[in-house]
Amino acid sequence: MEVERYKRKYSFGEDYGTRFYKFGPIREKPDIIENAGYFIEDSLIKRLYGIDKDLIVGPEYRDYLGTKEEVQRNLVYPMKDGIIAKEDERAWRVIYEVTKYGLTRYKLMESEFKGYCVTAALSAVAPNYMYEKIFEIHEKIDEETGLVRAVSVIPQPLAVAIANKETKCVVVESGHGNTQICPISLRAISDAIAVLNRGGAEADMITAEILRDAGYADLAREETVVRRIKEMIGLIPIDLDKAIKEAKSDPEKYKVSYRFPGTTIKIELEKEAWMRFLIGEIVFNPSHEIFASYYKRGFAIREGRLGDDILPGEIDLGEAIVRSVEKVSLEIQEEVYRKIILSGGNFMWKVPSGLEDVACGAPTKVRLLLKKFDIEAGVKLTVDPQYAVWKGCIVWSVAVPLDYEWSWEKREGWYKWR
């Protein structure tokens, strides 16, 4: 079979997210499992379940979960803000098992099948050793199963740009632990990639503080409860000062109550309803003076990085984008500002009906932040936020010629061993 036809049939995408691993061959959407593994420490349990391995991945790992303490000890999510430490053997074992799980689910018996052309997506800040490990893992799996013909690794923001069909743009990917700003011009411009050490986690922390201030200290300790409340009540203010003033003057309009389905847990915010805007604001502009009182409570944001430069932890997102794009060639700056793509769960905010005059979505907020720098930006949410990275991987597999050997200098090409 001709190579290009072969790749159109046997391309395989892998998105190693912090929470989920999305995988599968060329099709409309991928399979999803948690990017996690559960280590079974008790040999009796292994005998009981009739299994001979000590690490379970895939949906069935939930069948083996034990006590809270055991889960805390043995349930491993290998990606921490997109990074796995080189010496973290348990995390790498999970990656190996998760990858093998995904590939073997698409084991083919066809005679023309000589292994998938796999493109894996890692965080934009993943160091070289992570690429090496991914190659190593795929080579090993191929030795065991014959399922991998070649591997390529691309940064997740580049995959988002590809899925959005934008060749010159800025992808802002914001997850739970960090936010990456990645200018793209036919490839990811690695020197211009900015990483902010803040994301959904900071919004969670501010939500917990609000719950404490409102008298729900017990709920503030439950991570899942806090996250759910954040999603239900959080609002991005168009202008925080105005929004607070408005909410304080008309608390009835902004009051919110939420009861967890099937439980007696219920929260009500009326006088404190103005605080809902803090949850959204901290993602985009933690430098606002109103957060000073929270920082005094020990709430701190670590510094970010832009190439070799350091970015203040509280830098507003608009300024961080500007600083990143300034690293890009002047000729394309205007073009990339016009195509800012927001990706990741931390940008998925709703505007409740009736609050459109004070609250907005993430693209509007970013646009407003950039306006402070006299930049008329075009900002949009990624298409298909859940699967965009995986789709970009498939496009990469299909399009990049198979004879394009891996280059460490360019961080591109196919890594092959056969």
């Binding site: 409309e28 399979d31 009739g50 698409y106 018996m109 990469w396 394009y404």
Partner: protein, 262 residues
């Protein structure tokens, strides 16, 4: 020599006279000294003057040496006491006396009877049985003693046998005791293992219950995993043509850009 009607013979002469009487008048057989010594031992042969046999009966004849100096009742009693000691050995025992001494003055008839000793007298060459020996009674007593002794011996033998048997039984009992102890230990272990086996049974029941649950959960997991991604081993991927490409591949400028990568 004769004095107060008593003729004093020499002992040898007297033995000869008495022997003749016993042989001729009574028909008893006089045993020689060597026979007596062989049958009854040297002491008897020296102490008893004549030993006779009357059929199965053995008769001891004691002939004291009577002189003027020892002519008294006490001398007779000394011999009577000596004779009485032999009534346990011989069937009859006689003391030979001069007839003149066989009077109540010297001889107590009741005492002779008590002792079972008879008296043979002689006078002027004439010998006669003056008082019969009742030693048969004693003999029977002796026989009783003998039988008792035999019985005792038998009993002793039996006791010895019983003792041996008891000793043997004791040894057997010790062995049995050991065996019982071993059995008790084994029973104890068995009862322990019975308790354990009950516990094992409970554990196995629990394991079986859990296994059923696990099988059920696995089945559920399999059902879920089938939902997640259609078919696996027998999956056949379709070769996508330009017109069948997923939307994200259609009109994607990156295809052109990436195809030029070298």
């Amino acid at each position: 020599m004769e004095m107060n009607g008593v003729i004093f013979f020499s002992k040898e002469k007297l033995i000869e006279v008495i022997s003749n009487f016993l042989k001729n008048k009574r028909g008893w057989l006089i045993l020689s000294k060597s026979d007596v010594e062989r049958a009854y031992g040297k002491n008897i042969a020296e102490e008893i003057d004549l030993v006779c046999k009357d059929g199965q009966n053995t008769i001891f004849i004691i002939i004291p040496r009577w002189t003027r100096k020892n002519y008294s009742k006490s001398y007779f009693l000394t011999y009577l006491a000596k004779a009485a000691t032999y009534t346990g050995i011989a069937d009859k025992v006689y003391i030979v006396l001069p007839k003149s001494l066989f009077t109540p003055r010297y001889v107590d008839g009741n005492l002779l009877k008590e002792c079972g000793v008879g008296v043979i007298t002689y006078f002027s060459g004439r010998v006669e049985e003056a008082f019969p020996s009742f030693s048969l009674t004693y003999k029977s007593r002796f026989s009783d003693f003998s039988s008792i002794r035999n019985k005792i011996k038998e009993l002793e033998n039996k006791v010895a046998i019983i003792t041996d048997e008891v000793s043997l039984m004791k040894s057997h009992l010790e062995k049995l005791d050991n065996i019982i102890q071993e059995l008790e230990a084994k029973i104890s272990k068995i009862s322990e293992s019975a308790v354990n086996s009950r516990k094992y049974s409970e554990i196995i029941e629990k394991l079986e219950f859990l296994e059923r649950n696990v099988a059920y959960l696995k089945q559920k997991a399999i059902e879920k995993s089938i939902d997640l991604s259609d078919i696996r081993e027998d999956i056949k991927l379709k070769e996508t043509t330009e017109t069948e490409l997923p939307d994200y591949l259609v009109d994607n400028p990156w295809l052109k850009v990436l195809r030029k990568r070298r």
